[in-house]
Symmetry: D2
Amino acid sequence: MAALVQQYLDLIRSEHAGVAEGALASYIPELTTVDPDGFGVSLSSSDGFVYESGDAALEFTIQSISKPFTYALALDQIGQRAVDAKIGVEPSGEAFNEISVDPATKTPKNPMINAGAIAAVSLVPGATPDEKFALIREFYSAFAGRQLEIDPQVYASEKRTGSRNRAIAYMLASFGVLDGDPDDVLDVYFRQCSFNVTTTDLARMAATLARGGINPMTGRRVTDAAVVRRTLSVMVTCGMYDAAGDWVSAVGMPAKSGVGGGIVAVLPGQVGIGVYSPLLDAKGNSVRGVRLCRSLSEQLGLHFLTVSRDSRATLRAVYQPHDNIRVYETHGDLLFCGAEQVVRTVDRGCDDFRVGILDVSRVDDIDDAARGLLSGMSAALRDRGKAGLIVDPDRVVIPDGSEFENIRYATIEQAVDAAQTFIREQFSDR
Amino acid sequence: MAALVQQYLDLIRSEHAGVAEGALASYIPELTTVDPDGFGVSLSSSDGFVYESGDAALEFTIQSISKPFTYALALDQIGQRAVDAKIGVEPSGEAFNEISVDPATKTPKNPMINAGAIAAVSLVPGATPDEKFALIREFYSAFAGRQLEIDPQVYASEKRTGSRNRAIAYMLASFGVLDGDPDDVLDVYFRQCSFNVTTTDLARMAATLARGGINPMTGRRVTDAAVVRRTLSVMVTCGMYDAAGDWVSAVGMPAKSGVGGGIVAVLPGQVGIGVYSPLLDAKGNSVRGVRLCRSLSEQLGLHFLTVSRDSRATLRAVYQPHDNIRVYETHGDLLFCGAEQVVRTVDRGCDDFRVGILDVSRVDDIDDAARGLLSGMSAALRDRGKAGLIVDPDRVVIPDGSEFENIRYATIEQAVDAAQTFIREQFSDR
Amino acid sequence: MAALVQQYLDLIRSEHAGVAEGALASYIPELTTVDPDGFGVSLSSSDGFVYESGDAALEFTIQSISKPFTYALALDQIGQRAVDAKIGVEPSGEAFNEISVDPATKTPKNPMINAGAIAAVSLVPGATPDEKFALIREFYSAFAGRQLEIDPQVYASEKRTGSRNRAIAYMLASFGVLDGDPDDVLDVYFRQCSFNVTTTDLARMAATLARGGINPMTGRRVTDAAVVRRTLSVMVTCGMYDAAGDWVSAVGMPAKSGVGGGIVAVLPGQVGIGVYSPLLDAKGNSVRGVRLCRSLSEQLGLHFLTVSRDSRATLRAVYQPHDNIRVYETHGDLLFCGAEQVVRTVDRGCDDFRVGILDVSRVDDIDDAARGLLSGMSAALRDRGKAGLIVDPDRVVIPDGSEFENIRYATIEQAVDAAQTFIREQFSDR
Amino acid sequence: MAALVQQYLDLIRSEHAGVAEGALASYIPELTTVDPDGFGVSLSSSDGFVYESGDAALEFTIQSISKPFTYALALDQIGQRAVDAKIGVEPSGEAFNEISVDPATKTPKNPMINAGAIAAVSLVPGATPDEKFALIREFYSAFAGRQLEIDPQVYASEKRTGSRNRAIAYMLASFGVLDGDPDDVLDVYFRQCSFNVTTTDLARMAATLARGGINPMTGRRVTDAAVVRRTLSVMVTCGMYDAAGDWVSAVGMPAKSGVGGGIVAVLPGQVGIGVYSPLLDAKGNSVRGVRLCRSLSEQLGLHFLTVSRDSRATLRAVYQPHDNIRVYETHGDLLFCGAEQVVRTVDRGCDDFRVGILDVSRVDDIDDAARGLLSGMSAALRDRGKAGLIVDPDRVVIPDGSEFENIRYATIEQAVDAAQTFIREQFSDR
């Protein structure tokens, strides 16, 4: 039944597959050799189920998407107070690679710009660059649920050409923000930017943030909820573009992009998303990636101000009024994430019943994505030799004249009667 | 049983009641005559139940808290595209009363600064200032659920002394942002800033935003969900201070303050909050108001990145295994808002049972506020001559050695047995 | 002999006469009706002799060129300390009509931007707008040496359309920079900008500044030298463009332009210049005016850092070794202004001699403009039936093979001998 | 007779000798060990005569005073067009050590800030750091008129601690402003900042600029006049502080300060000044140095907008109406520089006469400094057994009731008579 969600994802991805705008990053030769057509997306539910579409297994370098994770590591290791003393949390209104600090505090404005990211690296404990890097690698790998490796060519190339980051590091040293040798810190930073990841890695890393620090695949707590909240907060105001207002308004998911072509996006409590397409806009964001995020948010209702509305929604009760008949009673606002959860709950339990009845009579509000998922559920059950009925007196799911009219009932009693009839007819001779 | 929540609110308010920092707004004489000790807070649940503490019935002028509502009205009336053409959505990095526009677009940076708010007034339909104002008043009143009135002295005083707003209005006119006579627009703006409100009005207005545009008290849809989402998005990035990052991180509720001493804060899907204390900090925000918001967020978990984690939590099922025994089965993450919901659901239904059993065996995570509410529920039921039992095998609610040890059971079967025994003993002779 | 200088001026003007770039100011209709081909220049020596070329008698509105003069009036009337309290002297780095003040002092950055100019108007003494304006008119007229009149249409039009200046005035009022009613101050400002002037008026006004406050035509001291020095200092750093560095480097004359098409430029101690051409560049400066100023500076050496080099130069001595023979002995660096002075000194005294001998044997350095003037002097004397000889052993004026070879001598003795011979031959029989 | 000027200099220096404000530069240990009381000033006339007061022979490091000279060298070597492509000429409005470039051109704003100065070093021809440095050393030494040496301790210390300059150099490299290895360029920059100079060196270097590129002591042309004009222009707008307007207005000499405690100031065509006092203000300028410059400008009239007024002034003629009597006829405005010139001209020629007559009857304006010098001249001549008389009908030099009343005459005839009488009486018997 996961195919229902899969269809949505494929459809949205295909809408943007034809876009040919943007250009490959060219500041190092290694980035110019990738296939410009690469385009993948992965979506992990908060319980770790991953949907993939397109080139979800293709590896690319993480680049700036590393920033929130190293910031989280610094928070995790030395605490918020110590991190705050060196890195701010306000939007900079400047380019990501600006060689500047906050005029008042003389610290980087936030950890999502290079200055703040380099400062974050310097805060990671470790007597040597190798020790720091080992900690970073372990932390990222715990987020991704697998051991990550760096791309040695990209690392070597970044290290050769990084005048601007060198300028930033020496600036930080001059302000006393950076302890130790700037070149050592940069070496770790260049390595961290060179991790190879797939969109599925990013989706899992995002899902770990969505789950408040617990990797839903491994079940391991990678960091605590306060660290995650702080990290996501900074991603909200400083993560994407200088156009934070537009991103919050149109997408509503804390996110971070990298010049490798990736974007990570988090819907707290709900999903983690990884996107990849290496053609970048003038600001260094993946053109198709940004559009895909906008579509996902819009079409699936993945906006943090929307989704929190359905926090008491979805399954109100699950019960079996009779053998082989299970009722799934929903209520509140039903949006994509809630519906996806219902669909998978039904899927998991469907060995235990012959007729599933979805009761949406107490649902207040529903969006198109949820409607599509729920009405498609019936067909999916039929394919398994079962029946799916819907109690929908107010036609929130099944509109007048729908093809699904025959499975719609006005009351639970009518639906249970129909279910009993179905079971008798289908299974009586067994 | 609402008393349980009430106690929390009173406690948090009392923590800040002794704060004497800050100063009354002095730019017009009318604001200097208010009682500096006034301090109230109201919290409306998303279904319209209002908790009040302190001077919740005291009237004060709404001032800049009007900004998000007139912005919402403009969106509602002429659509986002037309509004976007005149008002941006990005943080300004400047003071709220800066006489400036975005250097690129020549429009106000966002609707939360005076320039954007005055532009928003000019976008409200109406042939005359009176027509515009009538629309604004009706809109605000629908949010508050009662007819709002202006304070004529404050209005007259603002009108006399508003050189700075006059400068802003003429600047907007010179850039073609303002249609019509700047003085006419300002007249409406000064009136809108002079509405008298109470913290309970603000809480209801906030709850209407929290509910996506439906006033939970009146049930009336005031505006649609897209307008609300846009408005809340702008409040996230531009609402409080120039320190958006800090506010999002520490409080995590879209909010807006006014120099009248009020603050409105919205936890989407959950609660609306109104706070009042007229002593202001250097930036014009209520000193006690800001601290109260921080405490509410921290102690009650009212952070939009936290609360969305419990979106599939709270009540999983409610059923009666036997007459007079009702089981409330919860799951997922249980934070303040979810627990408050559970407590009131139990409260509403308690005429129908003699023993209520709260099953928390499937709860993943819980915070202190929720723990307090749930463990207090038992005492509240006892006061009504009933019993409250808790199935808590993992001790998520009732720790080892707790005073509530005697109502804790490891399995639902044990709890039901105990409930039956209780009923027999208490009610057999009747 | 003034014709020598005249030729220079005509030549330089004609170089730019064909330029058709730029556009008429269009923010008020009155400015769009002027003849776009109008192009005039006037140059006043520091002793009040005026050279004119092109449309030097054409009237146009003074506009922003009024700014330094009202600033000077404010300094003159209430003193530098009182003026400094309200208006700064630093470059703004912003557009002339920016609605902003210095972030630290909350006063306009300098008097050459609109905010500072409006503040300067408010500092002019006067109980009523008419009184203030009367003082301004008298002051300007004293600079120009004639009674100036305003253009009533331009004034009326400015007054109708000045939203931006109104914004500035109210902003200043809100910061306490402006005393009295902003609309009253603006009325005077709009009147002052509407004065009709010619390039000759501007040249005389400039010459009065060049002479430290004494109008060289009327001999009247209009204001004192300290006021002039302060005014010229501000013109150096804030007068033209935001590109002060480029203007100082390339032109080196304190200057001010107006959207009416005029430019005033001052070479302290030397000359005052007025230019007019109404086609403006994107910044509101006269296209041909700016180019003419650059050419004048370059070709005539009118740069304040250059011209001060010849401060002890030019005439070292004037004596008559014999009847009817007068020697003009020059020394030091000979640039345009010095040579122009020499030429006119010779011109004035030529009734008293029959042969003039110019001794340049002690000249250190000379530029092309000076060379042209001096070598042309001989022909001019011949036209009057006299002779002009040059003692030029090092060929600083007359190069090898020049047409003037026959009037060149290596020593003063040889020149005096030749002069005596000339006199004997030409005048003996009379 | 130079003693007259000397007295002025000593007097002005002594006014500021008691100032104890400011602090030694502390960013490298070497600068903290200097004597905080060191205080010297040297003034070179444009013909190379040097007056010294205080610690004029004390050596200190040139630091940022090197900036205009290396900029001049770059202009001299590769031409203005090539230099302009890499370094702007506009005020930066930022601190001298800001790590920033012009947002539009991506080049340093001007050569007086570190970024521009480092860029200038990179433009100096030379295959190796040593070759570049050799050229710089030769150029500086030609300005100073002696071979300059660096302080090896300061150089080594700067090199060790220069994180901020390293940040600037890498930033420039990242923008393509810097050719070659940033560390190599910095090495030359640190060496150039470490030159040991005295105030007399600085005065001579300044006088070379004042003379348009000719060292008045050696008579050697170091660079051409166009290079000097460009350099001085940039010093006018960008040299001192971010407060260019105030400096131009109050001092009116292109200048540059260094954290070593030195200041160089140039009055074009007139004088070069070097000042030293190591106690710095918050902006890194010598406290006493700045005050001394202000006093010199104010009391001696050394302002470029003032001094150009007297460009045709001072000596109009020198003649001997009789043996042993020489008349010095002055005219125009007589300020300090002109009077100093007169005094020294008289001094130089006084072997040739017994009575010197100063004719000031055609002087228009005079300041106190000039008045003091001229009236003191008489006493100086008397000390040499000669007489000095003054023709001063309008009492511009000798006021009513002055001690010098006895040498004042109303007409030149009366003075010549008196001179003849004096000669007869004093020398008849010889």
